[in-house]
C-alpha cells in the first residue's frame, strides 16, 4: 500500500514537471535567465540613494554602469566623489580618485563581498546556478515588468542584507534595491545610456 501510494505520487510529480516544461510560450525564470544571458554588453547611467538610519537625509550618488559578458562589471561613481569599482573574474578593484588609493581583492578571500557583487553580476549574466548558490530566488511580475527577489542563504550575509530586489523589463535591468538587516536601504535606478 505504501509502495503503491508513493508510486502514484511520483507519477503525479513527473506529469506535473512535464507539464511545466512543455508549456511553450510560458515566460518564466528559465526564459528570463536565457534572455539576460543573450546580452553581451550593457551600459547605463545610475542614480543611487542610500537611506541610512543614522542620517537625516539620503546620500545620493550617480555615475555609469558597464557590463561586459560574461564576468566584467564596472561601476564608475562620478558624483559626489570620483570612485570606481571594477569586477573582473574573481578580482575586485576599488579605486578612489580622492584618496588616490587602489585596492584589489580576491573575491574568495571576502565571501560576503563576493555574494554581494554576485547578486548583480550573476543576474546580468543570467547565471541562475551561481545565484542560487548564494540566494533563494523568487520571480514576480511579467516579462514587461518583472522583479527578482533574492534572499541570502549564508548566515553571515543575512546579518548584513535581508533582501535584494532587482527589477527590469525584458532583458534589461532598471532598478536594484538593497534592504539591509539594520533597516537601512539603498535604491539604484538605472537608465539606458543614449549613445
Amino acid at each position: 500500500m505504501i509502495f503503491g501510494g508513493s508510486r502514484t505520487l511520483l507519477l503525479l510529480l513527473l506529469f506535473a514537471t512535464a507539464a511545466v516544461a512543455d508549456e511553450p510560450a510560458g515566460w518564466d525564470m528559465t526564459r528570463l535567465m536565457q534572455d539576460l544571458a543573450q546580452v553581451k554588453i550593457a551600459k547605463g547611467r545610475f542614480v543611487e540613494r542610500k537611506y541610512l538610519g543614522i542620517l537625516t537625509a539620503p546620500l545620493e550618488s550617480s555615475g555609469t554602469l558597464i557590463y561586459i559578458a560574461p564576468s566584467r562589471l564596472e561601476k564608475h561613481t562620478l558624483t559626489p566623489h570620483d570612485e570606481s569599482l571594477v569586477l573582473e573574474g574573481d578580482r575586485l578593484t576599488i579605486e578612489s580618485q580622492q584618496t588616490k588609493r587602489r585596492r584589489t581583492l580576491l573575491l574568495q578571500d571576502y565571501p560576503v563581498i563576493w555574494m554581494f557583487v554576485e547578486s548583480i553580476r550573476s543576474t546580468l549574466a543570467g547565471d541562475r546556478a551561481l545565484l542560487q548558490r548564494f540566494y533563494e530566488i523568487t520571480l514576480e511580475g511579467e516579462e514587461r515588468k518583472w522583479r527578482l527577489v533574492l534572499k541570502p542563504i549564508d548566515p553571515k550575509m543575512q546579518e548584513l542584507i535581508s533582501e535584494i530586489r532587482i527589477g527590469g523589463s525584458h532583458s534589461r535591468i532598471d532598478s536594484i534595491e538593497f534592504f539591509e538587516s539594520g533597516g537601512d536601504r539603498s535604491v539604484m535606478t538605472i537608465t539606458r545610456d543614449v549613445p
Partner: protein
C-alpha cells in the same frame, strides 16, 4: 694462558662491565640542532634557540588534500574542533570564526589604546569634523555597508587605522569559511603545540592526535599532509633510528659472514667481534660521560666503527703464520699497527674540535672505540687464539692476490696521468665545488622542504629574510624601541626602501604609549562639546554618536593591555614570536616585507637610549654561518693532516718513506673528490669530514704496504689481510651511503670510495724492492 694474560682479560672484563653500566644510564637524543653549528654571534644564537624551542619550533602545518573543496572544508572544521579539545595544543587555527572572533573583539575593545593615530589633536572639533566628512564619503561608497555599523562607535576611524597596519601581511585564502591554498586543492590548518620543538616525544604524541583527528573527520580518500619543525624532528628521529638499527644489523651480518668464510671457525668469528663490541660500548660510554647525552647519529656512525675495528682482529688472524705463536705474529706487526691507530686518531681528533657538537661526538666515539678495540686486540685476543692457528685462506688466495699486486705498478703512469687530469678538472670546475647552503646539512629531504615552503606561503607564514632585532633590559624598553624604530621604518617605507613591517607593539603597545593615548582622549564633557561643534550642518542624526562618547570615556579609564589580554586571540602567537625574553633581557623582532634597499634601511634605523638594534639579513647570516664552519672544518682537517705527516716523520724517520706512505693517500683524496663532484652536486662539510676519514683509515693500508716484510709469505699475508680489512671498511661505510640522513650518506659515500682507491693506489704506487 699466562698470569699476565689472565690479568689483562680480567681488566678487560671489568672495563666492559663498567662501560655497559654507563651506557645503561645514558640518554639518547635526536635533536637536529646538534648538527646545526653552535652559533658564534648573539643574533645567530637567537636564531638557533628559536629553532630549538621558540614559537616557530612549535608550529604544525596541517594540509588536507584530495577531495572536493566542500569535503575538505568539512574535514578541516571537524579536525579543528576535535584538536581544540586537547590541552596538547595552545591554539588550532583554520580560519573559521572560532579564531577570528577573538581577534576582532580584542581590536575593537582596545582600539583607543592600539591606534597610533590617537593624539590630543585627533579629538578637537576641526579634526572630528574632517573625520565625519570622510565617514559620509565612506558611507556613500561601495564600502558603506561595511562601515555603517562601526561609524556610531568609532567616528574617528581608529579600527580602520589599526586594520590598515595589518593590511600588508600575507593572509591565507579562504573558502567555505576556512583556510585554503590559492588553488583550492588543499585545506590548511595551523596548530601550535604546548611542548617545545626539541621535545620530540611530546611532538610525536601531538602528531598522533592530529592523525587520529584526521581519521575521525572521515574525509574519505583525502590525504593528510604535515609539516613544521616538530614533524621534521619526529621523522628524522624515526629515520635515524631506522637507519642506525638496519645498517648495524646488515653490516654485522655481512662482516660476520665474511669472517666465517675467511677463517671457517665460529670461535674466531666470536673473537673477531670482541674488539668491535668492546670499542662500541666504550665509545658510547665516553660520549655519554663527555657530553651528557648521546646523539642518535653518533650511534648510526657506530656502524662505521664495526668496519674499522674489525680490521685489527683481521690483521692479527691473517698474519698468524704456521708454527708461530699468535703473540709473536702480533709483536711483529705491532709497530705498524700502532702507527696506523695513531694516524687514525690524529684524523678523528680534528672532528673532536668541530663546532658541530654532533661531529665532536662522532670524533670522541671513534677515538675511544679505536683505542679500546686495538687494546683488546693487542692484549686480550692473543690469549684466546688457538696456539697453532693459521688462516687457510691465505694459502688459497694469497698467491693470486700477490700476483695482482706485483703487476699493479704497471698502472703507475696511467694512474699519475689520471690523477693529474682530475686535478686539472677540479681546478677548472665550473660552479661551486663546495655547497654554500646551510640547508645541505639539514636532515630533512628536499621534497619535504619544498612542501614546507609551499604550505608556509599558502598559510601566510612565509620565511622572512630581513628583520630588525632590538635588545633591551626591560620588556617596556624593548617595546618603546620597537615603536620608535617602527616610526623610522614607516618613513623608510614612504621613501620606497621597503614595503612594510610587522612589530610587537602593533599588538602590545608600550605602557608609555598606552598611557599617552589614554591622556590624549578628552574628558567626557569636552569631547561632547567638540563633537557637537563638529556635527553642525552635517546630516547625521543627533544621538547617533552616543556609543562613541561612552566608549571613549570608558577607554580613558580601562585597564592597559598586557600579555593576558591577548590570550584568546591569534595575536598571542604572533607576539610570542616577536617579543622574546632572554637571560640578558628582552629581544623584539620586527620582520620587514619586500626590502628593496637593505643598506638604506640599515642607515635609517637607530635605537633609542637603553636599547640596541641591528638589521639582520637571515640569508646572509646563515650563509655566513655555514662558510665559517666550512672554513673551520677545513682548518681542522688540514691540522689533522699535518699531525699525521708529523707523526709519520717521527716514526718512519725517512722523507722518502713518508712520501711513499702519503702519495697513495693524496692521490686517493684527489680522485675521490673528483668522483664525488662528477655527480654535479656541490660537496658539503660532511664530504670534507669523509675525506679526513679516508686519510685516517687509508694511512693504515699504505703503512702496511710500506712495511718491511721479512719474507715472501709474510708479505703475502699482509696483502691478504689488507684486502679483508678494506672489504670490511667498504661494507661498513658503503652501507651508510644508502642512508637518507645526509650526514651518514655523505660520509659513507666518501669513505667507501676513498678507502678502495687508497688500497688500489697503495698497490700501484708501492715500491718494487723488498717492501711489500
Amino acid at each position: 694462558m699466562t698470569a699476565a694474560q689472565r690479568w689483562c682479560s680480567a681488566a678487560w672484563l671489568v672495563f666492559v662491565v663498567a662501560s655497559i653500566a654507563v651506557v645503561a644510564r645514558t640518554t639518547f637524543t635526536t635533536d637536529i640542532s646538534a648538527f646545526l653549528p653552535r652559533s658564534p654571534t648573539p643574533e645567530q644564537r637567537i636564531l638557533v634557540e628559536q629553532l630549538r624551542e621558540g614559537v616557530v619550533s612549535r608550529l604544525v602545518l596541517i594540509g588536507i588534500e584530495g577531495g572536493s573543496p566542500e569535503a575538505l572544508a568539512r574535514a578541516s572544521k571537524q579536525m579543528a574542533a576535535e584538536l581544540r579539545k586537547h590541552e596538547t595544543f595552545v591554539s588550532v587555527d583554520n580560519g573559521d570564526d572560532a579564531g577570528s572572533a577573538g581577534d576582532r573583539e580584542f581590536l575593537w575593545r582596545n582600539r583607543y589604546l592600539l591606534s597610533s593615530a590617537v593624539t590630543p589633536e585627533r579629538f578637537s572639533a576641526p579634526a572630528l569634523r574632517e573625520r565625519l566628512e570622510e565617514n559620509l564619503r565612506l558611507l556613500g561608497s561601495p564600502a558603506g555597508a561595511l562601515v555603517r555599523r562601526i561609524v556610531p562607535s568609532d567616528p574617528s576611524g581608529e579600527l580602520l587605522q589599526i586594520l590598515e597596519r595589518f593590511e600588508g601581511q600575507a593572509r591565507p585564502a579562504t573558502r567555505d569559511g576556512v583556510w585554503f591554498s590559492r588553488d583550492s586543492r588543499r585545506a590548511l590548518l595551523l596548530a601550535q603545540t604546548r611542548a617545545a620543538g626539541y621535545d620530540i616525544d611530546a611532538q610525536e604524541r601531538s602528531l598522533a592526535l592530529v592523525r587520529s583527528a584526521f581519521a575521525q573527520a572521515g574525509a574519505g580518500d583525502a590525504k593528510l599532509l604535515l609539516s613544521g619543525p616538530g614533524v621534521f624532528s619526529v621523522s628524522t628521529r624515526a629515520s635515524i633510528r631506522h637507519d642506525a638499527m638496519r645498517f648495524s644489523l646488515i653490516a654485522t651480518a655481512l662482516i660476520a659472514g665474511l669472517l666465517l668464510a675467511i677463517y671457517r671457525s665460529p670461535r674466531l668469528l666470536g673473537l673477531g667481534l670482541l674488539p668491535i663490541g668492546s670499542g662500541a660500548v666504550a665509545g658510547i660510554a665516553a660520549v655519554s660521560l663527555g657530553f651528557g647525552a648521546v646523539h642518535g647519529i653518533t650511534l648510526g656512525f657506530g656502524v662505521t666503527l664495526i668496519g674499522e675495528c674489525v680490521d685489527y682482529a683481521i690483521y692479527l688472524f691473517t698474519q698468524a703464520a704456521p708454527g708461530v705463536a699468535p703473540q709473536r705474529a702480533l709483536d711483529r706487526i705491532w709497530p705498524t699497527l700502532r702507527l696506523g691507530v695513531l694516524t687514525s686518531i690524529c684524523g678523528f681528533s680534528a672532528m673532536l674540535f668541530s663546532g658541530f657538537s654532533g661531529l665532536a661526538q662522532l670524533g670522541l666515539f671513534s677515538i675511544t672505540g679505536l683505542v679500546v678495540a686495538v687494546a683488546v686486540t693487542r692484549w686480550v685476543l692473543p690469549a684466546w687464539l688457538p696456539p697453532r692457528f693459521t688462516a687457510p685462506v691465505v694459502a688459497s688466495i694469497g698467491p693470486w692476490v700477490t700476483a695482482v699486486v706485483r703487476r699493479a705498478p704497471v698502472l703507475r703512469y696511467p694512474l699519475l696521468l689520471g690523477v693529474a687530469l682530475v686535478a686539472v678538472m677540479l681546478a677548472a670546475h665550473k660552479g661551486p665545488l663546495w655547497s654554500d647552503d646551510l640547508a645541505s646539512l639539514s636532515p630533512v629531504s628536499r621534497a619535504d622542504q619544498m612542501l614546507d615552503q609551499q604550505m608556509r606561503r599558502d598559510i601566510g607564514a612565509p620565511d622572512v629574510r630581513f628583520l630588525v632585532v632590538i635588545h633591551a633590559q626591560e620588556e617596556e624598553t624593548a617595546l618603546q624601541a620597537s615603536e620608535a624604530i617602527g616610526e623610522m621604518l614607516r618613513r623608510a617605507s614612504l621613501a620606497g626602501l621597503l614595503e612594510g613591517y610587522d612589530s610587537p607593539s602593533d599588538y602590545f603597545p608600550s605602557r608609555q604609549s598606552q598611557l599617552a593615548r589614554q591622556r590624549a582622549l578628552p574628558a567626557a564633557e569636552e569631547l561632547r562639546a567638540n563633537l557637537g561643534r563638529a556635527l553642525q550642518g552635517l546630516p547625521f542624526r543627533p544621538q547617533v554618536f552616543e556609543p562613541f562618547l561612552k566608549d571613549a570615556a570608558a577607554a580613558k579609564r580601562m585597564p592597559l593591555i598586557d600579555r593576558g589580554s591577548l590570550q584568546r586571540t591569534r595575536f598571542a602567537l604572533r607576539l610570542d614570536t616577536l617579543l622574546v625574553p632572554r637571560e640578558s633581557g628582552w629581544v623584539a623582532m620586527l620582520p620587514l616585507r619586500e626590502v628593496k634597499d637593505a643598506a638604506g634601511v640599515a642607515r635609517d634605523i637607530s635605537a633609542p637610549p637603553g636599547a640596541r638594534a641591528v638589521l639582520l639579513d637571515l640569508k646572509h647570516e646563515s650563509d655566513q654561518l655555514y662558510r665559517t664552519y666550512r672554513a673551520e672544518a677545513l682548518t681542522y682537517s688540514l691540522l689533522g693532516a699535518a699531525a699525521i705527516v708529523l707523526l709519520l716523520f717521527a716514526s718512519l724517520r725517512s722523507p722518502r718513506r713518508v712520501f711513499d706512505v702519503l702519495a697513495p693517500l693524496a692521490a686517493a683524496v684527489l680522485a675521490t673528490t673528483g668522483l664525488l663532484s662528477l655527480g654535479g652536486h656541490p660537496l658539503s662539510i660532511f664530504h670534507l669530514v669523509g675525506l679526513l676519514l679516508v686519510v685516517a683509515i687509508g694511512s693504515n693500508y699504505s703503512l702496511f704496504f710500506d712495511r718491511q716484510a721479512p719474507s715472501g709469505s709474510d708479505r703475502e699475508r699482509t696483502i691478504v689481510s689488507l684486502l679483508f680489512a678494506n672489504a670490511t671498511s667498504v661494507i661498513g661505510f658503503g652501507l651508510l651511503a644508502f642512508s637518507r640522513v645526509p650526514v651518514l650518506h655523505d660520509i659513507g659515500m666518501t669513505v667507501a670510495t676513498g678507502t678502495i682507491l687508497t688500497l688500489a693506489f697503495s698497490a700501484i704506487l708501492g715500491r718494487r724492492d723488498g717492501r711489500a
